[in-house]
């Protein structure tokens, strides 16, 4: 049974000082546990075919907002299992009222898995590769993509 990660609620334009500065939507973690935010390794946001630079993307966890470049070092921020995170995208003027196609991509680093194996005791699993050879060859790498159509009102 397919699970939905992009939520139908929470999608709106973002207003600052009476102007629309961007838009936001919410998603829940596509994983079976909560994670430290620094383990959100890669990310992509595309709306109606337009790719947004991560320089214009922030992630909101609880009440704290992290510009994408701060996510990497958010070692002490825990994204709770089942609690929606909010993606905030800067886009002056925001989005029009109506239907929008959202495409979200991410790689959650599996922080507990063996990536190096100096003693060779995990050789029955998969020979660990240097990370420079990722992502194509290592099955532990998994960039996930999700898409859905959402209605924006304001």
């Amino acid at each position: 049974m397919e699970e939905k990660y992009i939520l139908k609620y929470g999608f709106r334009n973002v207003y600052q000082a009476g102007r629309i500065t961007g838009f936001q939507f919410k998603f829940v973690i596509p994983y079976y546990r909560g994670i430290y935010l620094s383990c959100l390794d890669e990310f992509s946001v595309k709306v109606d075919g337009e790719n947004f630079s991560l320089n214009n993307v922030s992630i909101k966890i609880g009440e704290r907002i992290f510009p994408w470049k701060e996510v990497d070092v958010a070692y002490d921020v825990f994204w709770t299992y089942g609690d929606p995170a909010t993606v905030i995208v800067s886009k002056p003027g925001g989005l029009e009222t109506g239907l929008h196609t959202i495409e979200l991509g991410m790689f959650i680093r599996k922080s507990y898995i063996v990536w190096t194996d100096p003693e060779g005791i995990y050789d029955f699993v998969i020979p660990p590769l240097p990370k420079s050879e990722l992502p194509d060859k290592d099955p532990r790498y998994g960039f996930q993509t999700f898409s859905d159509q959402l209605s924006l009102v304001i």
Binding site: Y36, S38, R109, Y112, E119
Partner: protein
Amino acid sequence: MNRKHFISTIAGATATAVAGAGAIAAHSVEPGENSVSLIKAPDHKVKRGVALYSYQRALKSHSVTLENCIEELSDIGAYGIEAIGQVIIKDYPNPSDRWIGEWWEMMDKYGTTPVCYTNFHDQWLQKSRPMTTAENLEHQMIDFNLGRRMGFTKFRMLVGTPIELMEAAIPVCEKLGLWMGLEIHAPVPFSSRLIERILGLAEKHPDAIGLLPDMGIFQKYPSPSAREQQIAQGTLTRDIALYIEDAYRKGLDKAEVVSRVKGMKPRPGDTSYADMVYSANPEDPKDLIPIMKYCRHIHGKFHEMNKGSDYTDARIIYDEVVPVLMQYGYDGYICTEFEGQRFMDAGTDEFDQVRRQHVMLKRLMGK
């Protein structure tokens, strides 16, 4: 080294000792000669519990609360709890004392017991490098302390937990009264250097470290739901799939089956189905006997119970494993973990699946 050789060299002395004790404590539900009551408590030490991961979809969507799940465990007589700290703890890794207090109130209210804390060791918190062993141990203390506050004394260490960390944590565990069990999870073979290393440490420090078998290693049969999905998608032919499964259960030789399938006008999916069915490589339940004294918890993974009133596991040979645990003196919980969410159809329910497994376990265990 083959499996038999490995078992005999690593734990040979233990095997003899445990098998001897097991023979005395052999499971029996027959009333004795002088028995007055027809009801006799089964003579074994295996207990039922549930890993809350089983209810992951319901918990994630907030359609049930943690308390609803704990009450359900009590309602099915599965009083032992296994849980992932990073899933159930509110405000992990810094829950309030109030939340911890509420946890204990639930244990009192429903008669449940915290048994095993599933530990995800986030050694790759940084993108650029894994933690050093000293950093690992410091970070590990977060979960050890959280688990202790909640009453968990056993920790399920996932495959991938650095051996150096487990070794460094032994003195801490001995001091705090905690036990770490490295999961034996497919595809980790019983006879591997990893298990050998842990057994070496367990012999010296049996109260601090050992092995924690995941019942997924006894998976022998394919998923009926996955088969039905492939049939619905048109990549698999029902008659051929059922023939292959039936032949496999009867122990027919693969070459014979493949040759017969060739004559049945197969689609590509039918041919690869034979490979898939025959690729199952379950461990032998008897291989648990020599390591049983080092196993203080069992992770009762399952993916799918059969439909209807049969109450049998569709894929894993619990009917062969549970009697071995009872007979050879396993002393601890089997905590059910339903992990078939991905294959669920609209009619499947996590709570129902767990209940079905517990009907099976109760029948096998007599309690």
